[in-house]
């Protein structure tokens, strides 16, 4: 399971009230000051300290199918989030960077507070774009990981590859294919007999719940047209955070900009995802085998004039121990892809849409062949309107379909306000 932040449910009502008041106040200020007040990061210490912030409030109808549920126990369509990122430059070569988040559900649930990122970045040569980072660092994988702030997301929902919860857990496993198939389409609440007996969420292909502990190297070249990233971290893409098994994940990403407006990316990652507490329960011969999550990704973006189009595919597989019949003897594969676009209609107003699909490989159960989790699709469309430079309002409608008997389809309208500086 991903490392969870500290929760503070006792003050939930008060904090929600305070958050709502803050948002209303900011909206009022925005209306009064209009465009003329410039949103800007707070700086100090002769420009060596910089603080930026985002506040996001989302309201929507109840997601009874848990299509938008995250491994943070929140749904993205009810999310209220406050985010602050601070950077402190200590000389020309060293920067300390941290990101703090507090988030809650606008309808129900706990509020959470977390140190999302905390690392030191070292630049050996000031004139060369090469950075070494150590601490709680971003993983070198995927395009959407750098766009997870609400201001960068064209819509309100998160692409399935980065949010949708599968039936895989890192702290509990099924003994056979029948037990796995019984969890099809209920990644929001998964239970298996081996390992933790607590009901908990499954893993997404790539988690956005927090950065991972480790090292990151970033390097650019060819006049900014090529960028390479490599990371070694304790967790895995679906379960970042802390080390549960003593085996690191290795990830890499290459970004190429062959022409202005065109960005192409490719990513790969591999890491041992099964927690040691589960491995210890296996027969001795299986305890020391590797049970990795391996993933590949490709992405493209093209923009011109008032158009922006993007597409990304993430393929991932997990290998589970073979314990009982019918056996899970092949890696459990999943492919998620999306394509999205935006068109600016008039200054301040844009329309956007995304198609998202996620499929799973087959397993052989006692009842026959089936996918190990339920394929899911999502179409989301909406508009965004900037009341001011620093206040964006989004309205979207999302239609989800899933190959399960329980809630096979669900349409979800939602509204989001994003304030930033």
């Amino acid at each position: 399971m991903p490392a969870r932040p500290a929760s503070f449910p006792a003050a939930c009502g008060l904090r929600r009230l305070a958050g709502s008041f803050l948002l209303v106040w900011l909206v009022c200020v925005a209306r009064v000051s209009g465009q003329e007040w410039t949103p800007q990061p707070i700086t100090g210490l002769d420009g060596r300290f910089t603080l930026r912030g985002d506040a996001t409030a989302t309201i929507g109808t109840d997601d009874t199918g848990y299509f938008n549920y995250t491994d943070y126990d929140h749904t993205t369509l009810h999310l209220v989030r406050f985010d602050a990122t601070a950077a402190l430059r200590a000389g020309d070569h060293v920067t300390f960077l941290t990101e703090l988040r507090a988030e809650g559900d606008s309808l129900h649930g706990e509020w959470l507070g977390a140190v999302y990122a905390a690392f030191v970045r070292y630049r050996p040569w000031t004139a060369r774009p090469i950075d070494l980072s150590a601490g709680l660092v971003p993983t070198a994988f995927g395009a959407y990981t750098a766009r997870s702030y609400a201001t960068d997301n064209l819509l309100i929902g998160t692409p399935l590859a980065y949010q949708y919860l599968t039936a895989i857990r890192s702290d509990a496993i099924p003994a056979n294919a029948d037990q796995l198939a019984a969890m099809r389409g209920r990644g929001w609440l998964v239970e298996y007999p081996i390992g933790s007996h607590t009901l908990a969420t499954g893993l997404p292909l790539v988690s956005l719940s927090g950065y991972d502990t480790g090292l990151l190297v970033q390097a650019g070249g060819v006049r900014g047209r090529v960028q390479g990233l490599a990371s070694v971290t304790a967790g895995t893409l679906g379960s970042p955070g802390i080390d549960h098994n003593g085996s690191p994940q290795v990830a890499g990403r290459l970004v190429v900009r062959p022409a202005i407006g065109l960005v192409l990316g490719a990513s790969a990652a591999s890491g041992h995802f099964l927690e040691q507490s589960v491995a210890d329960l296996l027969p001795p011969a299986q305890q020391h085998r590797r049970y990795p999550q391996r993933a590949w990704g490709a992405d493209a973006e093209y923009s011109r004039e008032y158009w922006l189009v993007r597409a990304e595919v993430v393929a991932s597989d997990w290998r589970l121990p073979v314990i009982d019949q019918p056996a899970i003897d092949r890696p459990l594969g999943s492919i998620a892809w999306y394509a999205e676009g935006r068109y600016k209609i008039v200054p301040g107003l844009y329309a956007a849409a995304r198609y998202d699909h996620m499929t799973f490989s087959d397993i052989q159960t006692s009842l026959g062949k089936t996918t190990w989790d339920a394929p899911v699709s999502r179409v989301e469309a909406g508009v965004g309107y900037s009341l001011t430079r620093w206040l964006l309002i989004k309205a979207t409608i999302q239609h989800n379909t899933r190959d399960t008997a329980r809630v096979p389809a669900l349409t979800l309208p939602s509204l989001q306000a994003v304030l930033w500086f």
């Binding site: 003329e36 990061p41 950077a87 774009p129 750098a146 923009s303 008032y306 200054p347 301040g348 430079r389």
Partner: protein, 229 residues
């Protein structure tokens, strides 16, 4: 407090800019023109807007805009009679260079067409949501330029939709009695008819100081200095 000051300053400027064709100023005589010169002392230069730090992106490599580049505008609160009779359609340029708008402050008259060339190797997307002029030029690359006609007086905040630290001011006047200070803070407004005038010093979103000056037969080139605290 700063916000309040800013709004108040903007209101003053809006009033000044709206005084089209009125019998502005206390005109003593319509004899030969003089000039007003002086200095704007900016005691605490505004810091340039920093890039938004993100944990997921690499560190910056681009040089920052220097606070010394920030200039002020000195303008007549009310313009002399006949100041609005110029009917030129001049051009001005707001370049996009090294992820900054150059110049950061542009003062123009109504009817000016401003060109926005992109001199960087990356896309920019110039836009403004200001009431005076709302526009979005879309994304365009190196060597290309787009233009906008500014047909109403007022203040226009200009941003880039891709690079959040890029910003500029365009002040659109309906008379020609204004001047942008040079790098040392000096200004000069020529061709001013005799009379008594109130001038304002505007800096980074607000009127920071005001003063009065008289041009008469004995004083053709008075000096008026301002302080921005």
């Amino acid at each position: 407090m700063v916000l309040k000051h800013s709004i108040a300053g903007l209101s003053l400027l809006a009033l000044a800019l709206a005084a089209i064709g009125g019998p502005a100023g206390r005109v003593l005589a319509q004899s030969g023109p003089g000039s007003i010169r002086g200095h704007v002392d900016i005691q605490r230069p505004a810091s340039p807007i920093e890039r938004r730090v993100t944990a997921s992106e690499p560190g910056e490599t681009m040089a920052h805009e220097s606070p010394r580049d920030r200039r002020a505008v000195v303008y007549f609160e009310t313009a002399p009679r006949g100041a609005f009779e110029d009917r030129e359609s001049p051009h001005a340029t707001l370049d996009q260079r090294n992820e900054a708008f150059v110049p950061h402050l542009l003062a123009i008259t109504v009817g000016t067409v401003v060109d926005f060339p992109n001199s960087d190797r990356t896309y920019h997307n110039v836009f403004s949501l200001s009431k005076t002029k709302r526009f979005d030029l879309g994304r365009y690359g190196t060597g290309r330029s787009k233009s906008i006609l500014f047909d109403r007086p007022g203040i226009v905040r200009v941003f880039c939709d891709i690079h959040s630290h890029m910003n500029a001011f365009i002040l659109v006047f309906n008379h020609r009695f204004f001047a942008v200070t040079d790098a040392d803070g000096h200004y000069e407004i020529d061709g001013v008819p005799t009379g008594t005038y109130t001038l304002s010093a505007w800096y980074e979103g607000a009127v920071r100081d005001q003063g009065s000056v008289t041009i008469g037969p004995e004083q053709r080139a008075p000096e008026l200095n301002f302080t921005v605290r």
